[in-house]
């Protein structure tokens, strides 16, 4: 059975010995130090650092060992199934890592002369075109650093659009379905809007009646993911788009769930005005334990003039940055975007082409439906909403019956899955499903690994009826047993750094 490495590795602050060094810098050349004199004289007295920062002192050997051990206590896509719903955890091609580490990009400074960075500008410009083609949008901005950053930009674009139309004072509301990702309402608020939540219908889709009742002269737009967070395609999308547009609002596409429609359907064709993409989901770049990602935003023609500066333009001979955009919202970050991440997406698209992207979509959907069909047969589990509808990228299973009958919750199932060397699905989301297990297998995993997952869930549910203790106390085979996630946020025990740890040293954690 799976057993995760456990090094019991101390914090780096308790390792090493005084006097050790992990890296030595080139010596300051003698003529320089002679000319400049004592460097401490250069720093004004009141600005000198009097005591050294409390960093550990380690040799290179110890640093490598420490972080190698930490990495061994971590689970990644390369370890096994990682079916986090709405996270699209797919394989990260190694060639793309290699390319992104080439000096031609890694050592390029953003303010270099345009003539010296034509190669990367060409790549970024082409990527913009490809992403526009894939999403059915007119222009794409590569600058957002992540999906939520793209959402922030998208909602700012809504604001700019209504402002130019002189309607920003009255269009203060953004509508989101109750099944929406948490970022949608959070982004809307960041851009200064109020959030109106509408309920889903019995199929888990946008309730057209509820939407009709919610739109008004105050509507700035609707944020929607399609397929939605239940993995169900919003069949009424045409009607939804019409309602929003007739009310004068804009339609925003949350691209977290773009993977299953690559090459099959395009948000732009469905009437979406603004579309963000999660490069670190759909386009196979690593999630890195929480970033860096990239969240490009595609827009329809009428919104292109509001995009952040600079835009990459081609004058027939060479590429340039264009800052001359009077209607631009401005900047949402420094420079031009997470170029090293975007380069990997460029290579990813090249490796697949149109046919390959379509294959990605279809197989990801096949995998999700395969899981849904098999899992819903397991005693204690159901597949709520849209019973007759095929799933797209993900399926949401409810463990409500199991909880009622055995006391074993979705959380317990998730923790027990870890014991099998499988990552858990997203739990308790979307909020409209009780005891939700949100499962997105992606196209990355082979049937055998999917079967292993199904078998693990089957055994866990059986165990729930026969030996619930084992499930309740899971995980047993991970680096560490179940953690107290309340204690970490309690003011008395909250320890967010080594400094705080030292301050609390005498108290019990």
């Amino acid at each position: 059975m799976f057993k995760q490495t456990n090094w019991d590795e101390p914090l780096i602050f308790s390792l090493g010995r005084k006097g050790r060094r992990g890296h030595v810098l080139p010596k300051v050349e003698e003529e320089i130090s002679r000319t400049i004199g004592d460097v401490s004289m250069l720093v004004p007295e009141n600005m000198q650092r009097k005591s050294q920062p409390g960093l550990p002192e380690l040799s290179e050997v110890e640093v490598v060992r420490h972080f190698t051990r930490l990495s061994e206590m971590n689970y990644g896509i390369d370890s096994g199934l990682y079916p986090l719903g709405s996270c699209t955890m797919k394989y990260n091609p190694r060639i793309n890592e290699l390319l992104a580490n080439l000096p031609g990009i890694s050592m390029a400074h953003p303010y270099q002369d345009e003539g010296d960075v034509q190669g990367i500008l060409e790549i970024l410009s082409r990527l913009e075109r490809w992403l526009a083609e894939i999403t059915g949008t007119y222009e794409v901005c590569l600058q957002p650093a992540a999906g939520a950053h793209g959402e922030f930009l998208g909602t700012l674009l809504m604001r700019a659009y209504h402002k130019l139309n002189g309607e920003n004072e009255k269009r203060t509301e953004i509508i989101v379905p109750d099944s929406a990702h948490g970022t949608n309402p959070a982004s809307a608020v960041m851009a200064g809007f109020n959030v109106v939540v509408i309920p889903s219908d019995k199929d888990g889709c946008v309730s057209v009646e509820a939407l009709e009742a919610a739109v008004s002269e105050s509507t700035a737009g609707l944020m929607l993911t399609n397929p939605n967070t239940l993995g169900i395609f919003e069949e009424n999308i045409e009607e939804i788009a019409n309602i929003v547009h007739e009310a004068g609002g804009l339609l925003y596409y949350d691209g977290a769930n773009l993977n299953p429609i690559l090459g099959k359907a395009r948000p732009g064709d469905m009437g979406f005005d603004i579309v963000h993409m999660n490069i670190h989901k759909t386009f196979g770049t690593p999630h890195g334990g929480g970033g860096p990602g990239a969240g490009p935003v595609g827009v329809s023609k009428k919104l292109a003039k509001f995009l952040p500066v600079p835009r990459i333009v081609f004058d027939g001979e060479s590429f340039h940055f264009d800052y001359d955009m009077p209607h631009s919202i401005g900047k949402i970050r420094g420079f031009y975007g997470n170029s090293a991440v975007l380069l990997k997406a460029y290579a990813y698209i090249l490796s697949l082409g149109f046919e390959g992207l379509k294959e990605v979509a279809e197989v990801s959907v096949l995998n999700a439906n395969y899981l849904a069909e098999k899992l819903k047969e397991i005693k204690g589990l159901t597949l709520p909403y849209g019973k007759e509808k095929p799933r797209k990228h993900e399926c949401v299973i409810s463990a409500k019956p199991l909880k009622r009958e055995t006391g074993i919750s979705a959380l317990n199932i998730a923790k027990r899955l870890l014991d099998y060397g499988l990552h858990a699905p997203t739990t308790y989301f979307p909020l409209i499903v009780d005891e939700a297990l949100m499962i997105e297998p992606t196209e990355t995993f082979e049937k055998e690994e999917l079967d292993r997952f199904i078998e693990a869930v089957r055994r866990i549910c059986k165990e729930a009826y026969t030996n619930p203790e084992a499930v309740l106390k899971a995980p047993h085979n991970t680096t560490i047993s179940r953690l107290d996630e309340m204690k970490v946020s309690h003011p008395k025990t909250m320890t967010l750094s080594w400094r705080m740890y030292l301050q609390k040293n005498n108290q019990n954690l």
């Binding site: 720093v43 409390g54 950053h149 670190h280 380069l343 096949l366 509808k389």
Partner: protein
Amino acid sequence: MSKHSHPYIPNSPPEIKQEMMLEIGIKNMEELYRDVPEKYRLKRPLNLPEALSELEIKKHVEASLSKNNVSSDMLVFLGAGCWPHYVPAVVKEIAQRSELFTSYTPYQPEISQGMLQALFEYQSMICELTGMEVANCSLYDWASALGEAARMASRLTRRNEILIPKIIHPERLATLQVYAEPAGISIKQVAYNMETGQISLEDLRNKISDRTAAVYIENPSFLGFIETQVDEISREAHTHGAISITGVDPTSLGILKPPGNYGADIVIGEAQPLGNSMNFGGPLLGIFACRNDLRLIRQMPGRIIGMTTTMDGSRQGFCMALQTREQHIRREKATSNICTNEALCAVASAVYMALLGPEGLRELGETIMYNANYAVHLLSKISGVKAPVFKSAHFKEFTVNFNETGLSVKEVHQKLLKRRIQGGKDISKEFPELGETALYCVTEIHSKEEIERLTTSLEEILAGKR
């Protein structure tokens, strides 16, 4: 596409698909899309290039990138928010450990202790550098961190004005404006002393009021000099009930007084120079830290990793803390919408800081300061060149003024490019009051010979030799 199964899609062979379709009772793949309205089904191939093999992709991308001339091909003296520094081999090696880089945000802490501990160590080391007690595990970059800091200060004080220095990175200012405007925060810029570049305390006192949510300064400033009136500025902020925010280049903190020692409540900055490549300006690594004050901590944006124990209390471990601030729990009431951040870059920075240690970090600061000041020393000897413009101590960046040379920054720049030298950033448009001025950056990567190559080239150019 060829008939081969794609290497990234293990279930693509027709017989496997057939087997799975049979299991779920469908006859063809199109049935899986039967709920997509006919009119939205794509009827044509997308206009994308044909799929390439790995070798072809490698050749293609290498050919494109070879059109670039970067800091490995030529001498580059650019900084301005993204700086050339050496990245030790170990840093890249660790960041390429696949268990780390192929993992997601550690929602399941028991199976993700490695990433969690590494991020906790990053947070802790940032605290040591800045003199703060709490740091998050990153924001996108310095610019967006400033936007978030302004909004946090406004929430904390329920005030809507932020004071910032006149000397600030133009892109950082532009980003701040975009983050601030929807929250109803207005931005006021405090003038500087024309001789020293230092913030005018008089102007600060004129502008600060009971509407001020925060006073923000940068150290070193955007134009590279060390701001010395830090204690007075923080005191001024606190006297008026405002939050004191400092933005830092962390490579300076081995030798400069940490903001925690001069009253900063929030510290932001850019940790790219700590172990991350420039990457044409992204990904970067936004620092966000604050004092150990619950009021502040609860308003912080971004992921924070904390130390906890197992349920039975027998062992220490790590998990995400204070998630009730975040979008996936709090939705429209979240402190920010940020979720994906720059975690792997933070791990790289943790490795970098661990490699350098306190001595290495001091040496880094000293070496940079030596080299930069040596460049200043040589440049200021060139007839007509003024370097730096301000009479203040400079760390790794400095202004070079060409007003008296008869050449514009642009002209000088073009002539330097011909000698395969990328000069400093032209700031004559952003800071017209400084005339024909460029912002140069010299770090530990520049050797004495390279600095001298710059200065002799400039001498020759200005002497009209080319």
